[in-house]
Subunit: 170 residues, 2 copies
């Protein structure tokens, strides 16, 4: 059955961390919506231009089955939101045990949910200390699955990451 997936991202997203999972999701018939600070366009770190379907101001987390946070410098930008709208949006999925996906720097945004204590995660080396300090158990592996929470380290892990995403949505 097709699921509706919210992708939270802004400028300087790591291009392939957007395109690879989204292509995989859409090829399985899932419905992906990009949610950004403003609807319009998001510019990737490598120069890609991606459509932002909705502004965070116009969406409700109840309307989505899963959430995905790609990496690059986008998660840092989302954390700068004055009203923490992106971490509040993501919080719903962790609280409700809905599928929650993040790769590379993506888990940075999840730190702001205050819900990582005791959870198993991986991420790019640069932010692992922040996950540990948030109470997470951090692993250096291509993909870490912790119930509804699926995380990976870098673009090199995308095959394993996409595989676990699909299992969560099956």
């Amino acid at each position: 059955m097709a699921k509706k997936i919210a992708v939270l991202m802004t400028d300087l997203v790591e291009d392939i961390e957007y395109t690879s999972p989204v292509n995989a999701l859409e090829s399985q018939g899932h419905d992906v919506e990009v949610i950004a600070p403003e609807a319009g366009e998001v510019e990737g770190k490598k120069g890609g231009k991606f459509k932002a379907d909705k502004s965070i101001s116009e969406v409700n987390s109840d309307d989505y089955d899963a959430v995905y946070v790609p990496g690059g410098f986008s998660p840092d930008g989302l954390r700068g939101d004055e009203n923490d709208r992106f971490s509040k949006f993501a919080k719903h999925f962790i609280e409700q045990n809905k599928p929650t996906f993040a790769i590379c720097h993506g888990p940075q945004l999840l730190v702001d949910t205050d819900l990582l204590s005791g959870r198993n995660l991986t991420a790019v080396k640069n932010v692992r200390k922040d996950l540990e300090n948030a109470g997470a158990k951090v692993h250096d592996q291509e993909v870490t699955v912790c119930s509804n929470l699926v995380t990976s380290r870098t673009p090199d892990d995308l095959d394993a990451f996409n595989g676990e995403i699909m299992k969560q949505l099956a």
Copy 2:
């Protein structure tokens, strides 16, 4: 008396967070050395080209009187060092109560020292949760002075930041 200050930075440093404090320091006769992953050149987020005087592999923290970590995406890059050489270098200054300066995303690198518990700091909004989770008391103010530790939030705070830097080195 002239002091020797180590500036820890890599590509995507916030240009003015390098140039403004360094100009202030040099105008007072202090000796500034840029320490990067490799000696050569560092490229700023805004396109500036800055000389990297030394590689982190060839320096000893004992040889410097103070350390400065400018912001941008540079601190994130420094945290990616496989051997954590930049956070180990910075750790010396906090342990020895030598002047330690960081602005914007700069405090991210200090998180990796595991020495922020109980310290008063500020930083750009995006990383404040990480400082709290590291045990710091986080303030939303233009400059926070905690004994030898001086931190600021953004380029708008540079005047106040530079002023406190100079007091520490007087």
